[in-house]
């Protein structure tokens, strides 16, 4: 089954929740510490002790505005925090502070890559309904091994962490588009430094609404909601499975029921969590503990002027200013870490294409083999620029330099001293090289013969032999020069 719905048109909308990168919580002074002992980064406000009150974190507001502007939304000068009332053990107040009737931002859009007519690369625009701010809930731990049988433990470290919820219009038409959209959102959140947007760590979560309708219909079918999908792979698989499930139901003449579903990656199937007989009644009302959030137009404009360059703009700049290919530019803007690393190394070194080649080939491969992220590597862009320059200047060889990349990625260090310590300095001593060339020519008379008979390519073979003789340390330019001179005799 393809990710499109065959005889049906697939209609998908996403609700994406992203943690904001703040030091403290949205309404509490408790610090945000990932990996802290359970219930250790909490404050009376997070515990909803009697008498506590929320105070809005201004930095969270700045980040939310920045994200909304980067996603082309209209940021409202007045928005309201509302209480969403429901009972759950990891929701300490018995309500979540969110936004309802007057959200921070509305409208906006995110572009995702798509194939245009004839397979040409193109863009598709996914419209946004709104972006609003809210606080996260804590975590309930039902695991028998931790909580004991029939018991639930509650960890409130996450309770109150600031979130934005990004709600899309139902503009998405396939499972691939859903993940492309989420990748685009993640890229914007990262390039704007709004969120680490790491799905594994729960910084980015999404609920997917899926419905089918006959092609050409302008009415929406009954939708189902897939909850708590925490990887791109699961999202794509879950959406495909749900499209399949709904298609089968409809083909068999049945009706899709509105419900909330969970996806089981083991079986690859979706299963009903609960049927929505009526819409949930969360009894939203404006939180009387908080005053309306009023933003001055100057504040919004200031944040707008501070929105950093996004991946797309950076990639364009790399192409236009530095002459990179589109493919290289897109790869080098896959994350702000790579883009920043490339930009700094290229600025330092001066030949962006050369630097790009080193990063895309050697650095990426080393990261992959070491299963590391560039963010976690001590390798500095300055060190890369220096290493490449040493190759340029004949101080070391490409081979020696490439051999050092993995080590530099893993543990950092100064390329110049590493090359000296390891004896990897290029051999450019004329006497040594001339002796090596003479030996190689003497050992390979048939190739010398071939060269003279017009097979000029054998020079590469002879080069290789000289390099081998010098354990790869010979300065290739100098070797080529001596070879040419000796063969030309």
């Amino acid at each position: 089954m393809s990710a499109s719905g065959g005889e049906f048109e697939v209609v998908i909308g996403l609700e994406v929740h992203a943690h904001l990168r703040t030091k403290s919580k949205l309404f509490s002074p408790a610090p945000i510490l990932y990996g802290a002992e359970p219930n250790h980064s909490v404050h009376p406000v997070c515990l909803a002790l009697p008498g506590v009150l929320p105070v809005l974190n201004e930095h969270a507001v700045e980040l939310a505005i920045r994200a909304a502007l980067a996603m082309n939304c209209e940021v409202h000068q007045r928005s309201i925090f509302a209480r969403k009332n429901y009972f759950y053990p990891d929701l300490p107040k018995g309500y979540q502070i969110s936004q309802y009737e007057e959200p921070l931002a509305t409208g906006g859009w995110v572009d995702i890559p798509t194939q245009g007519a004839g397979g040409a690369a193109s863009k598709k625009r996914v419209r946004l309904t709104r972006i609003h701010m809210e606080e996260d809930a804590g975590k309930s731990i039902h695991d028998d091994a931790i909580a004991g049988a029939d018991a639930t433990l509650v960890d409130l470290n996450r309770a109150g962490v600031p979130l934005i919820e990004i709600v899309s219009e139902p503009d998405i038409r396939s499972a691939e588009e859903a993940t492309d959209y989420l990748r685009a959102i993640r890229s914007i959140l990262r390039f704007t430094d709004v969120s680490d947007a790491d799905m594994e760590k729960g910084h980015l979560r999404c609920d997917v609404n899926v419905s089918l309708r006959p092609h050409g219909s302008d009415e929406y079918g009954t939708r189902t909601e897939l909850k708590n999908l925490n990887s791109f792979r699961f999202i794509e698989d879950a959406v495909r499975a749900e499209i399949e499930r709904q298609s089968e139901t409809l083909r068999a003449g049945g009706a899709v029921r509105q419900c909330t579903l969970a996806y089981d990656p083991q079986s690859g199937r979706t299963s009903v969590l609960r049927i929505k007989e009526d819409a949930d009644d969360y009894r939203y009302f404006p939180d009387p503990d908080l005053i309306p959030m009023l933003l001055a137009p100057e504040q919004i404009e200031r944040v707008r002027s501070e929105v950093p360059e996004l991946a797309e703009q950076r990639a364009e700049r790399f192409q236009h200013e530095w002459g990179l290919s589109e493919q290289d530019a897109i790869q080098l803007t896959a994350s702000p870490a790579i883009a920043n690393f490339f930009q700094a190394a290229a600025d330092r070194h001066g030949a962006p294409q050369t630097v790009a080649n080193w990063i895309l080939r050697d650095v990426m491969q080393a990261l992959k083999e070491l299963e590391m992220a560039l963010d976690d590597s001590p390798f500095s862009p300055e060190a890369l620029a220096q290493l490449i320059s040493m190759v340029d200047e004949g101080k070391t060889t490409v081979k020696s330099a490439r051999g050092l990349i993995a080590e530099l990625v893993e543990s950092g260090g100064d390329p110049e001293s590493l090359i000296a310590e390891r004896g990897l300095a290029a051999v450019s001593d004329a006497g040594v090289l001339e002796r090596a060339v003479a030996e190689v020519l003497a050992e390979n008379p048939e190739n010398v013969e071939l060269f003279h008979s017009g097979e000029k390519k054998v020079v590469n073979f002879l080069m290789g032999q000289v390099m081998r003789k010098t354990q790869g340390k010979a300065d290739p330019a100098a070797v080529r020069e001596i070879l040419a001179r000796e063969l030309g005799k």
């Binding site: 009376p44 515990l47 909803a48 002790l49 009697p50 008498g51 506590v52 009150l53 929320p54 105070v55 809005l56 209480r83 009332n85 009972f87 053990p89 300490p92 107040k93 018995g94 309500y95 639930t152 509650v154 819409a279 009644d281 009894r283 939203y284 009302f285 939180d287 009387p288 503990d289 908080l290 005053i291």
Partner: protein, 488 residues
């Protein structure tokens, strides 16, 4: 009953002239509180040891000439809905049994900074929901003027403790009249400042947009002292007014000449008010006129909707505010429940009293899908109109006077079976909470042998004018000095 305590100012003078010590004053308060519990039940908990220790520390400060404020070493009682580090706060509810606070309310911290000694927590209607202090898990507080009658509520314990001269002052909270109505019933001064004047940080929420901490005292001047210690901006309360505490005492000039007093025509009608109460209030107004005030008629056309508006908003907010009492983290949790839903249901069924349950149910209904517009949103719209009424009225006058309550203290049990009648007890007081304006009640005479309160309302942010009027009134009358029988 033992000899009652004097005013804060009398006690200050006695300390300064070394006629007594803080330890002696606080010890006396504790003895009177204990002795009165059987008859009055004004307190739900005393902090005897800590209070005496703090009194000793205050005496030592005075010896060293390091007196922190005019209130240093003087005793106070706080309502059982304000938290203090290391102390229980139960809101007179079973649901908070066992809860001890790890932090202190801003208002209480203000008292501590001033050197005030908190001697204990006073009884109240559970979660401040009530007008009689009968809805308490500890049992009702009684009115010192007549032990068969209620002290009013919900801050009835605080009012009774001051009226019985157990303590010279007490903190209360006022969501719809919970300071002023008991002050009226018990014949003491009670003031609710402008909404946001005193931080709500550490006040257990009933209705967040209406709740306000205030003070009880024997005189307006004493009340001003206490308010000065607890008012002012607090960054931990987003609804706190961003201004320092005004110097109320400096405004007590005793001069009423040229003062324009508005009399709402809707409130000065014989309908719905006890004739004796109305006569006493009219006589008080005449007294103010004789002292130089001019009276004029004002109109509050939307005031007739105040009770309905108030109960819609207050209950809606309460239904949400009380959701945190779920048995998960603190307070009462039912034993042996199977499953989460049963734990919630049994915990809350056991933990809350009938009146609290009634209000949670009503508030939940008002916020429900399909009813929100008809109740909560409509109530907010009326609230805006009512606020407009007051703004218009204050354009032509400096203060508004009304009876505090339509009647004198009623009998215990008289209204518990008829909640709606109980709610009407708040008819003159809820408007000030809806409009967010300051209002106080001061003793203005007796009807049927029981105290009657005069309510004085000021424009937003202007607590000083009602305090100045009450103080001036007390200089020309002696109603506030009258003691209930058995207290001297």
């Amino acid at each position: 009953m033992a000899e009652g305590i004097g005013t804060l100012r009398e006690l200050r003078a006695a300390l300064d002239s070394r006629k007594t010590s803080s330890v002696e004053i606080v010890g006396g308060c504790l003895r009177r509180a204990e002795a009165s519990q059987q008859s009055l039940r004004a307190f739900v908990g005393l902090r005897a040891e800590a209070a005496l220790r703090e009194a000793e520390a205050s005496d030592a400060r005075r010896e060293r000439g390091e007196v922190r404020s005019p209130l240093d070493g003087l005793p106070i009682a706080i309502k059982d809905n304000m938290v203090q580090t290391g102390e229980p706060t139960h809101c007179a509810s079973r649901i908070l049994e066992g809860f001890v606070s790890p932090y202190t309310a801003t208002a209480v911290a203000g008292l501590e900074r001033a050197g005030v000694v908190v001697i204990g927590r006073t009884n109240m209607d559970e979660f401040a929901m009530g007008s009689s202090t009968e809805h308490s898990v500890e049992g009702p507080t009684r009115n010192p003027w007549d032990l068969d009658r209620t002290p009013g509520g919900s801050s009835g314990g605080s009012a009774a403790a001051v009226a019985a001269r157990i303590v010279p002052a007490a903190l209360g909270s006022d969501t719809g009249g919970s300071i002023r109505q008991p002050a009226s019933f018990c014949g003491v001064v009670g003031m609710k400042p402008t909404y946001g004047r005193v931080s709500r940080w550490g006040l257990v929420a009933f209705a967040s947009s209406l709740d306000q901490i205030g003070a009880f005292a024997l005189t307006a001047a004493d009340c001003a002292w206490v308010l000065e210690a607890i008012a002012g901006h607090d960054a931990r309360d987003s609804t706190s007014i961003p201004e320092p505490a005004p110097a109320y005492s400096a405004a007590l000039s005793g001069d009423l000449s040229g003062l324009r007093l508005g009399l709402p025509k809707e409130y000065f009608v014989s309908e719905g008010v006890d004739a004796g109460v109305l006569a006493v209030v009219r006589e008080a107004v005449a007294g103010l006129e004789r002292a130089g005030a001019k009276t004029l008629e004002v109109s509050l056309p939307y005031a007739r909707y105040a009770i309905a508006t108030y109960y819609s908003i207050a209950n809606a907010e309460a239904s949400s505010n009380l959701a945190r009492f779920d048995g998960v983290r603190y307070g009462h949790r039912t034993a042996g429940a199977k499953g989460l839903t049963e734990m919630y249901c049994r915990t809350r069924s056991e933990g809350f009293g009938a009146e609290v349950k009634r209000r949670i149910l009503l508030g939940t209904y008002f916020l429900s899908a399909g009813y929100y517009d008809a109740y909560y949103r409509k109530a907010q719209q009326v609230r805006t109109l009512l606020r407009g009424d007051f703004e218009q009225a204050f354009a032509g006058c400096d203060a508004i006077v009304t009876p505090t309550s339509p009647e004198v203290a009623f009998r215990l049990g008289e209204k518990t079976s008829d909640p709606l009648t109980m709610y009407l007890s708040d008819i003159y007081t809820v408007s000030a909470n809806l409009a967010g304006i300051p209002a106080l009640s001061t003793p203005c005479g007796f009807a049927h042998g029981l105290p009657v309160g005069l309510q004085i309302l000021g424009p937003a942010l202007d607590e000083a004018t009602p305090l100045r009027i009450a103080d001036a009134f007390q200089r020309i009358t002696d109603h506030h000095t009258a003691c209930p029988g058995g207290v001297s």
